[in-house]
């Protein structure tokens, strides 16, 4: 059996509990193993972001819990949770990912610096990643001097630099043209293979979905299809 990285149990997120409750997430179970390259698809409002936020410890579920490598992150509070994210989870967001006042290199090393990793290790890793994303010549460029696609590549490199347990990417290609989107996917896949890095990303771009090895489909806060399993639909009682 493959090593489990993420185990989400019975996750629900309910907004406006007092007035008209909205189930952004409705009793979702999810299991992710190391090395997966998983896409979460579904229409807008189906709960993709909410699910990723729960897994990434950015938001608290109304019900259920998330275990990462055996740690129940739903029980972590405040700075404990922030530190857990720092040391275990990589994030790539849809846009405005980078710290605008830092250069490409500084953005990539940012998390490793927060983790207080040795300087040599950090420098080496940053150079290696800059090469892998093909931006060695942009090392000292600020985000505003980079194209959208280049910015997202830097964001991926930053998430990857400290070798987290997994990387969550919420619609990483949503603001990119199709060439840049393909390019970013190539890089993510390459890193997934070379470093055995687990990627979970949401998207509604069919070409991106086609590249994923596992595709999870969401609708109305529920997982309605999962290519890794035969039957996933949780029938509400």
């Amino acid at each position: 059996m493959k090593e489990t990285v993420i185990d989400a149990h019975n996750l629900s997120k309910i907004y406006d509990e007092k007035t008209i409750p909205v189930y952004a997430l409705n009793k979702v179970h999810l299991h992710i193993s190391r090395g997966e390259f998983t896409a979460i698809k579904g229409p807008s409002g189906s709960g993709k972001t909410t699910l990723l936020n729960m897994i990434g410890g950015l938001d608290e579920p109304s019900e259920g819990f998330v275990e990462i490598n055996g740690t129940n992150i739903t029980e972590l509070k405040g700075n404990e949770l922030i530190d857990f994210r720092l040391n275990n989870i990589g994030f790539v967001f849809q846009s405005y990912n980078l710290i605008p006042v830092l250069t490409a290199k500084e953005n990539i090393e940012f998390i490793m610096l927060l983790q207080k990793r040795p300087k040599e290790e950090t420098d080496q890793r940053v150079l290696e990643l800059l090469k892998q994303i093909g931006l060695e010549d942009k090392i000292d460029k600020r985000p505003q001097e980079l194209s959208g696609g280049q910015q997202q590549r830097v964001a991926v490199a930053r998430a990857l630099a400290p070798k987290p347990q997994f990387i969550l990417a919420d619609e990483p290609t949503a603001n990119l043209d199709s060439v840049s989107a393909e390019n970013l996917l190539d890089i993510m896949l390459k890193l997934n293979q070379e470093e055995n890095m687990t990627f979970i990303f949401s998207t509604h771009d069919q070409r991106v979905i086609n590249r994923a090895r596992r595709v999870i489909t969401m609708e109305d806060g529920k997982i309605v299809e999962d290519t890794a399993e035969t039957v996933i639909i949780h029938k509400p009682k």
Partner: protein
């Protein structure tokens, strides 16, 4: 790294940085200048009081100041005056015959204080001659000359060379009356004083009052205010039965002026600091709200709340620290310049002079005061910086990222 980010963040929103730097420097400048201005005003008032009104020290019969009766004169006053004049710390001393009385003309009468003065010495002591706006000073040869103020001249419809009648009580309590010829009109910046003081030569009233060649007041101008307490003690030893008061005790309203000025300084300082705090809290709060997404991203990536707090605090601190030298230099320059040139407030002089102020003020500042203002400004600025930084901590990463 926090320092790097905070430092670079300074240039992201130049307008905001300029606002905070200006707020700090203007606050500092305003606070410093305000303090210097009040210093100048008080110094001005004290110098005027000493140089033109009360002198450094005054000697009286112990009961004189409460009763203001001529029977409480200074015995042996000529000898006393000579002794005082020979003191090496004393610049000038002059005797006076001070009488409460009335001045009357065909148009009416008015209660006044008659200053019987030693013409020449009095001029050195209180610059009486310089206060004259019309006419000429006492003539040594002539007697029964009087100098009245412009206010009394108007009130009693008097003119130079016209006569006015002075009435007062002598030592025995009998009423004495005498006609005096007006030789000059004076005007000082102290309106209430002008309304109630006339000047004659001491020799014109001393015999009438029943104390020929005597004085009931001796005013002393020292060479320096620094020896005030020392001189007072020495004189008190020489003349144990005489009441000797320094200008501080003679004009308690001066002390009041000082404390009122202190309070005013405090109030204005409070307003300046409140404006500063308001400016910083608002501008930095805007900066934090503008960067909600970014702060959310930093939180998501794993930058803990303490670091985020410090990062925003640092950013504000840099701006404050940039504002301080600008403010201090501006303030010192302004104070240095106005201290030389003086600040002419003659357009406000009407209201000012009624309080006894001169119209030109020379702001001045001590290092101690500068330090205090600096400390207050920095403290206020730093405390205000805490609120926006604290606001950033309340952000929730998931919500912030949706913005």
């Amino acid at each position: 790294m926090l320092i790097k980010i905070a430092g670079r963040n300074l240039w992201r929103n130049k307008k905001r940085s300029v606002i905070i730097i200006s707020a700090v420097s203007i606050g500092l400048w305003a606070g410093t200048f305000l303090t210097a201005f009040y210093n100048g005003m008080i110094e001005q008032r004290i110098n005027t009081a000493i140089g033109k009104e009360v002198s450094h020290l005054q000697l009286h019969h112990p009961k004189f100041r409460s009763d203001y009766d001529i029977q409480y004169y200074l015995p042996d006053s000529q000898k006393m005056l000579q002794t005082i004049e020979s003191d090496s710390l004393v610049k000038i001393a002059a005797g006076r015959v001070m009488l409460k009385g009335m001045i009357a003309s065909a148009a009416g009468s008015s209660g006044i204080t008659i200053n019987g003065v030693q013409a020449e010495k009095e001029n050195s002591l209180t610059k009486l001659q310089s206060k004259i706006i019309k006419g000429s000073y006492f003539d040594a040869e002539k007697s029964n000359e009087i100098i009245i103020s412009e206010k009394i001249r108007k009130k009693l419809k008097l003119e130079i060379n016209k006569k006015a009648i002075l009435t007062f009580q002598d030592k025995e309590g009998n009423l004495a009356a005498e006609a005096f010829r007006i030789i000059a009109i004076y005007k000082t910046i102290n309106a209430p004083y002008d309304e109630s003081n006339v000047f004659v030569k001491n020799t014109a009233v001393d015999s009438l009052a029943g104390i020929p060649n005597g004085f009931n007041e001796i005013a002393v101008l020292l060479k320096s205010n620094a020896t005030l307490d020392e001189s007072l003690a020495q004189l008190q030893q020489k003349f144990p039965n005489t009441e000797i008061k320094s200008w501080k005790e003679i004009t308690p309203e001066l002390g009041l002026t000082v404390s009122v000025a202190d309070q005013m300084t405090l109030i204005f300082m409070g307003i300046i600091l409140a404006a500063l705090a308001f400016g910083i809290v608002n501008t930095m709060m805007m900066a934090v709200l503008e960067r909600t997404r970014e702060i959310g991203m930093l939180l998501a990536l794993g930058m803990n709340k303490f670091k985020i707090f410090i990062m925003i605090l640092l950013e504000t601190f840099f701006l404050i620290l940039a504002g301080c030298p600008i403010g201090i230099i501006l303030a010192l320059l302004t104070v240095a310049i106005t201290n030389k040139t003086g600040l002419d407030l003659s357009s406000y002089t009407e209201t000012y002079s009624s309080f006894g102020y001169d119209s030109v003020i020379y702001p001045s500042l001590t290092w101690n005061q500068l330090q205090t203002v600096l400390l207050l400004v920095i403290l206020t600025a730093f405390i205000s910086a805490l609120f926006p930084a604290k606001r950033a901590l309340q952000l929730n990463p998931a919500e912030s990222l949706k913005k």
